[in-house]
Symmetry: C2
Subunit: 373 residues, 2 copies
């Protein structure tokens, strides 16, 4: 076999995909601005800045995928003239545009918070009138980890919000959903249409960036089949191949879809140790046309992001059962530098380990009182 998979992007997601691909004798190549990226340790990086970079990248592999959800559609269109990419272009295009995404959720009867398209100050005012306040105003394209958003709480903020985000031209106004917690479901679909789903992750954020995920999400037995149903609708409708992530809000009225990511996801990093087959290996298997692996949970896990500053490696590894995954990135405020997986044997060890970890992380872990650990 010995296929090569070309991956758009070269960050930590590509790095972990390539790590999973290696034991299957599958080599990865990457397409990324900076050739000194986290994936570089595992395969050749073709620079997006090089004159003939895209063509050389297309030449370098048999089948393609992505780890960067803002992969330019224009590049994908050049690629698909000669080679295949998984997931499909439509999934990527939809995920890159919040209005298309919400429309797809609507079409598939996946509940979402009420929303309106906004492309003028007038339509923003109309949205406020229709939806009430507060609302979240977002650019339809671009933006991540809380950037490109404006939370509108009072009508006198309308002009400011428009001034800030209006230049993006295409915006979405969403009702502010009251939710008790955020969860995500990750699933993989094979080339033959087989779908496998991991259990829900409960996700905790700090300053708009994922801080940690608990898997399986506590008290999620009723939510799991609903979430599985939603993501399966998306996968089948899109004729999707590979890993897809769906972020959901847990509300009084049930699950509301927040957004989807057409790729492996930070809230699935736990699966490297916690699941029989990880999101990375299953994505590689799907893209290479191989049978999917079991998504069964080996042991409940907590995944904690390392953000901004590195802890001491020896401090992390001294924690019982801790796994450390560093991405070979330099320190910068708000940057994801690595993650830690804990596999406690029970609830009391989980609490103990999280407290120990909170002491050794340079950046505070969002161990708030309401954290369900």
């Amino acid at each position: 076999m010995n296929k090569t998979i070309g991956i758009f992007g070269g960050g930590q997601l590509g790095r972990m995909m390539a790590q999973a691909a290696l034991p299957l004798n599958i080599q990865c190549t990457f397409f990324e601005a900076n050739t000194d990226c986290p994936s570089a340790a595992l395969g050749q990086v073709f620079s997006t800045k090089a004159e003939n970079g895209l063509n050389e990248f297309i030449e370098s592999a048999d089948v393609f995928s992505l780890e960067f959800e803002n992969t330019p559609l224009a590049d994908v269109d050049v690629l698909t003239q000669s080679k295949a990419i998984h997931p499909p272009r439509q999934a990527l295009a939809t995920a890159q545009n919040r209005l298309l995404e919400k429309a797809l959720f609507d079409k598939l009867d996946i509940p979402v918070a009420p929303y309106r398209a906004v492309d003028s100050l007038e339509s923003l005012k109309q949205a406020v009138a229709d939806l009430g306040l507060p609302i979240v105003l977002k650019t339809a394209t671009g933006g991540y980890d809380g950037k490109g958003q404006f939370v509108l709480r009072t009508a006198d903020q309308i002009d400011q919000a428009w001034a800030e985000l209006g230049p993006a031209k295409s915006l979405i106004a969403e009702s502010f959903v009251t939710f008790s917690r955020e969860v995500s479901i990750i699933a993989v679909r094979g080339l033959d249409g087989e779908v496998k789903t991991w259990p829900l992750a409960e996700n905790h954020h700090h300053n708009g960036i994922l801080s940690h995920s608990i898997v399986p999400a506590p008290n999620s037995a009723d939510l799991q089949p609903v979430a599985q149903d939603y993501i399966t609708r998306l996968l089948n409708h899109l004729n999707y191949v590979g890993v897809l992530t769906l972020e959901l809000f847990v509300t009084d009225k049930g699950l509301y879809a927040n957004e989807m990511a057409p790729r492996v996801h930070n809230s699935g990093h736990w699966s490297i140790e916690g699941s029989v087959c990880s999101q990375f290996e299953n994505h590689v298997r799907a893209v290479a046309g191989l049978p999917l692996g079991s998504t069964e949970v080996v042991r409940p896990t907590v995944m904690i992001n390392i953000i901004g500053k590195h802890p001491k490696t020896e401090d992390v590894l001294a924690l019982n059962g801790a796994h450390l995954h560093l991405y070979n990135k330099t320190e910068r405020a708000g940057r994801k530098l690595g993650h830690i997986t804990l596999m406690p044997v029970n609830q009391s060890e989980l609490v103990l380990l999280c407290r120990q970890l909170a002491k050794i992380l340079p950046e505070p872990l969002a161990l708030s009182e309401d954290m369900n650990i």
Copy 2:
């Protein structure tokens, strides 16, 4: 931190060490005759054939280890003029010479089959007189996987045995031990002297090559503390740092040491998925001076070697819970090309999976009637 570990050898053991090192931001380099070796995907390979290869290899890393137990002591002696190697030279020298090895077992009160040093036809005859027949005659140095051995069953084979192995000059004659099965214990010792042990593996051979290992070895509760005691004596006596393997025979009179390997071992490959921290990661942690990880078993496993010919990847991955590890080697009779880890949920799934696997492996799996599955 960001240490680099230089590894003597560049085979699949080095490849899997480097895979385990990567998430810790530890880079590996290798010293190997063939620069197109299994480890090459993960770090620079310095050729043992290059004029200045050894010096360049020594320059390339901060601390050193090995994956090839026949690493020349002369090379280690050049290295240790400027840099450290784990495990220690003495462990390597002992493991390279069966007479030194048996003497060490004797010294530490670790039972071994009766043996005699043989360096002449006369001393061979004396050994036969002392030990009785059958005996196994082996070269004191060199030989692996059943090569460099002669099984002497009758006295009229003495001349033939001497003609075949005599030129090696230093031989060992060992009583033929009657054993019910072969097991191995693997342990790791940290720079601070901490020792952690994995459970016993039960090892099955086919044509003198490891075919598969079952972990934990069935019915080994009584054997485990004894084996742990033996390997701990070795580790502490040698002031060992890293992973050590001890192969043992289960006999009517208890455990007899067969041989030790001063390195990660084929019978420990199961630990990648089956243990909280694998033999590869723990070896890397020890060599880098980091705290050791938990050797707790996540789930019982069976590890099956892929020998000589590759099965179809899709056939292997279609088995529930199967993990495939390929070494990027070309096919050759008797060559270890990869391994498969099965993690059955119970005994009946284990039997089922092994039968399915036996059908898809090109080379027969030694699924004899006496296999304790």
